[in-house]
Structures are given as C-alpha cells and as structure tokens.
Amino acid sequence: MMPSLYWQIQWRRNRRLTPLYGVVLLLLVVYGWLFPGLFSRAGLAHFTQSWFPLALVAMAQAILMLTGGISLAVGSLVSLGAVVAATTMGATGSLVSMLLVLAAGLATGAASGAIVALLRLPAIIVTLAGSFIIGGLALIILPRPGGMILPWLSAVLAGNNPTVLLGLLILLVLGWKFYLATPGGIALYAAGENPVAAYRSGIAVEATVIAAFAISGMLCTLAGLFVAAQTGSGDPVIGTTFTLNSIAAVVLGGVGFLGGEGTMRGALAGSLLLTVMINVMFFLGMPPVAQYIAQGIIIVVAVALPHLLGRRLAP
C-alpha cells in the first residue's frame, strides 16, 4: 500500500510541473541546436559549471521559502564562501578549508535563523540587514580580489569533466530526499504551511526554521567555494547577482512565497531554465545589458503565464 501511495504523490507532483519540464526541454534542444558542442564532454562540463552554483542557491532559497521565509542575503553568503575558501586554502590545505567554508555558512545561517525564529523579526528584514553584515565581513576578510584556490581543486570542479559536479548534484538531491523522509523534513513543510497548526501538533517550529536557515547558508557558501574554484581566486562581491537569480529560479519552479507549497525538483528545474535562458541569450550575441532587460521580462512573463492560461481554461 505504502509504495503505491508514494508513487501516486510523486506522479501528482510531477504532473503539476509538466509544463515547466516541457519548456526546459524545449530550450535545451534550442541550445543544443545553436551550440552542437553542448553534447561533447567539454561542452557538457561547461554547461554544468554555469548551472551548478545557481542550482545550489536555488536549493538554498527553496528550503527557506518552503518554511515561509526568504533570504536576501544569498549573494553575500556566496561571496563569504568564496573569500573564506580563497584566504584559508593556502595555509590550511583543501579539506580544512572546505570544512571552514561549510562551517561559515552553517553558523551565519543558523544565526540569522535564530534571529528570525526566536526574536520574531520577519525574514526579509533580517536577511536584508544580514546581507550588509555578511557582505561587510567578506570585505573585511578579503578587501580586494585575491587569495588562491589549489589548482587541483579548480581542475576537479571546473575542469573539462562534468562527472564530479553531476555526482555532487545527485548526492545533494539524495540528501534532500533523505532529509524529507526524516521528521525534520516533514516539519519543514508543516511549519511553512501553517505554523500555528504545526506548533499545536507538537512540531518544534523554531528549531525547524533555524535548521532550514543553517542548511540554506551552507548551500550558499558551498556555491561560493565553487565560484572561487572556477575563477581560481576570491572576490568579495562576486555573489551579488545570485540573490535575484535564486529567487527567480525558485519562483519559476513553482515554489510559493507563503510557505509549504512547492517542490525541490521544481526549484532545480527553475534554475536549469534560467541557466539555459542566460546561456542562449549569450550565444545569440546579446550584450549583457540586453540580457538584463530580457531577463526581467522573461521572469514576469514566466510567472504570469500560468495565471493567464489558467484563467482562460477555467471558466
């Protein structure tokens, strides 16, 4: 009985996302047609590299939005991860440095989560002020671009082989599946959908929110580590664009702003859609300026379209 119910729910979730999958597939085909090199190993590696950091921050944003929160500090957390990696790697070696990057994200995430959950300040305000504090910390750690990433790590993460990145992504998705199967994961949706009901059903809402913020922070700094590996050094303002893009990807993926509504696979598909869109625009030779304009329009259209179509279909 249980397995069939499980697949029923999975099927229903996938069916809601079918239009999104269709659009992503269509754009991928267009991209592959414009740029046949995509299907070579190096082409796939480069595409994965442009997708990976956005996929990470989309996951980070999705976890928070499922609890009914939001983070405007994603970009500065990415920068923090990049500068921590670039400044510590030379002295401590790669393993300790990576652990430090993860710990930095975990700690800052948990701290903002504690302020949101225990002191009852709205997440948008805490993370907006937090973006200044975290961005300032990144500037203090590394005032100007510099530092270094061990060449072998750059080669593994940003070389011509996509296996490691795709493997990491699959690991993260499996980790998310595992987290959802634990009480903590169920509490995440419950706390987002209806915090009062969740609280009265005995769920530790505060702890759930703090855990979500901590995981989210860790994913952001991990994205920062990867961005630093891509460029070979650290830059204290490299993450700025990730804040808007993470929100856009998650909303394109059908995650609601009020919490408890949406899926991680949707968020990942949204990030893929955004990446392909940016890559296609780049490939069509559009200047970066026009990309901003197109991105703004596309996001609004993509978010508004289901509503417009839905109104036409339903009387």
């Binding site: 939001i70 009852r120 305000i125 002020a129 937090g130 300032g136 203090i140 005032p143 929100i247």
Partner: protein, 311 residues
C-alpha cells in the same frame, strides 16, 4: 502615558533625539545647525522614497525597485530636456510622469497578472538596470536643470528647499493615508485582501495607486538626489532600497501590511542618516562600515519591528 510609550513613531523620535544629544556632547560640531541641517537634507531623500514604500507596505506589498526608479529619474532628466524649456519644468514633469508610469507598470503586473510583488519589483529592477546602462552608457550625467539645481542647493531663510519639499510631501502623504477613503482602502487591502474585496474595495485600482505613488515618490527623491549631487550615475539610487525598507520598519509599520503610519517613517529616515553619520565619524574600513550599519539597523529593528507571538 502608557499609550504614549507604546507609540512606535514617538519611540523612534525619542531614540533620534537621545542619539543627537549624546553625539552632540561627545563630538563637537555634530550638534551644530549646519550639520543637523545637512543630515536632514540627506534624510529627505530617504524620507521621500520611504513615503512610497510606506504606502506600498501598508497596502500589503513591497517595492524592491525603488533604487532603480531613483536612478532612472536622475539619468532620464537630461534626456527629457529641450532648448525651448528654459525653466526645466517640462523635464521635471516628464521625469515624474515617467517614474509614476514605472510604478504603475509594477502595479499592473501585481494586480492584473497576479505576479508576487517581490518578483514583479525585483524583475522591474533588473529590467531597469539593463535599460539604465543602455541609456547612460556607464558615464555620469551632469545636472543642467535650473529647478532641480535650486531644489538641491537653495536655502531660503537658512532652511533648505529640499527639507521644505519633504515637509510638504509628508503632510500630503499623512493626509492621504489617514484622512482619505483611498488611505483607508490601503489599510484594508493590507490587513486582509479578501475581506477588503468583499467589502467592496476595488483591489486592482487600489494596488495600482499604491505602486504609482511609490514610483512618483522615487522620481521626486531621484530629482533631489541629483540636485544635491550635481551628477547622476548608474548606482546613485542603490543605498535607498535597504534604507527605505529599514525606515518603514523602524517607524513601526508592519512589514506584513495593514498597520503603520508615515509618521513613523519620518524619524526612521532621520535615524538611519544619523547612524550613517556616526559610522563615518568612527572612520572604519568599507567592510567594517557595512558590518556596523547592518548590525545597528538589525539591533534597532529588534526594538521596533518584532512581530507578535504565535500563541
């Protein structure tokens, strides 16, 4: 007495006065009239952006495109100047119409296309960012409009023109929010959109008005910023996004909508400028300055912006 102490606008005003008095004794020159006037001039820009933000937040939304609209109005002013327009009045009106139009487009996206305010205004900010680089081409714009120059620098009777403009606009916004049917509709919409609709409030028109007002206020703020700086450039509006939201919340307006007043945003704006001035006195590195600013704003918000307990 107890009711007075619970009033957040009053509390914020008291905090400002305490900080001014303490800083005035600690650092000579801080409490002098030219310095206080200078801080009020800076606060007038935040205050105007905050006026639009207050209206939008009370109506249950949020405007993340304010920074881009402020920049847009500074960049667009020279483009709208014609030789026969010697006073510059047409250019000023054109800029105000343009910024209001941008706000109205936000409102259309939110009310008709049902796009979430945060997405709509963030997407608008992205769109404008591209457009602005296209318009300005990365170079600064020099001010050549007599009206705007007067607004930014004139001091009739030793009292700055921009502060006077701020006072007049504050009066208008306060009357609009608390003494007109439209203001009551903003509060109703923010408190409970469904109940508001069922009570006969035209949700779409009200939403449109809120974002239109925000656009107009950003346009005015942009003109003031241009008048004070003498130059417009891409990024001139950037500080006003956090500042406007922080000023609104510091003033006791609930970010969830339906509760608050512009009377709180006024001291909130002054408080933010005061904090920035104090940090400049400390003479810290750019990174430390950001950390201090964020921490102080967060600390003050803990005093005034907390939401009610769940149980």
């Amino acid at each position: 007495m107890k009711a007075l102490l619970r009033s957040r606008p009053l509390l914020t005003t008291l905090v400002v006065l305490v900080v001014w008095i303490v800083a005035g004794f600690a650092s000579p020159g801080f409490g002098s009239w030219p310095h206080l006037r200078y801080m009020l001039e800076l606060a007038s820009v935040i205050g105007l952006v905050g006026a639009g933000q207050t209206v939008v937040v009370i109506a249950g939304g949020i405007d993340l495109s304010v920074a881009a609209i402020v920049t847009l109005s500074t960049i667009a002013l020279p483009l709208l100047s014609w030789s026969f327009d010697t006073t510059g009045a047409i250019a000023v009106l054109g800029v105000l119409a343009l910024s209001t139009l941008v706000g109205l487009v936000n409102g259309i996206g939110i009310a008709w296309l049902r796009v979430h305010p945060m997405i709509m205004t963030l997407a608008m900010a992205t769109f404008l960012q591209g457009l602005l680089i296209l318009m300005a081409g990365g170079s600064a714009v020099t001010l050549d409009n007599p009206i705007v120059a007067w607004l930014g620098s004139a001091r009739p009777f030793g009292f700055s023109a921009c502060i006077m403009l701020w006072i007049v606009m504050s009066g208008l916004v306060l009357v609009l929010l608390h003494a007109t049917p439209l203001g009551a509709r903003f509060f109703a919409l923010g408190a409970n959109p469904l109940a508001a609709r069922l009570s006969g409030v035209n949700i779409r028109a009200t939403t449109l008005c809120a974002y239109g007002i925000s656009g107009l206020m950003c346009g005015l703020a942009g003109l003031l910023a241009l008048g004070m700086n003498g130059q417009g450039y891409v990024g001139i509006g950037d500080p006003y996004l956090l500042a406007s939201i922080a000023a609104v919340v510091l003033g006791g307006t609930s970010i969830l909508g339906g509760r608050g007043t512009y009377g709180g945003t006024l001291p909130g704006a002054v408080l933010l400028v005061t904090i920035t001035a104090l940090i400049t006195v400390v003479n810290a590195s750019p990174g430390l300055r950001d950390v201090l600013f964020g921490t102080l704003v967060l600390g003050l918000l803990l005093l005034s912006g907390r939401e009610a307990k769940r149980r």
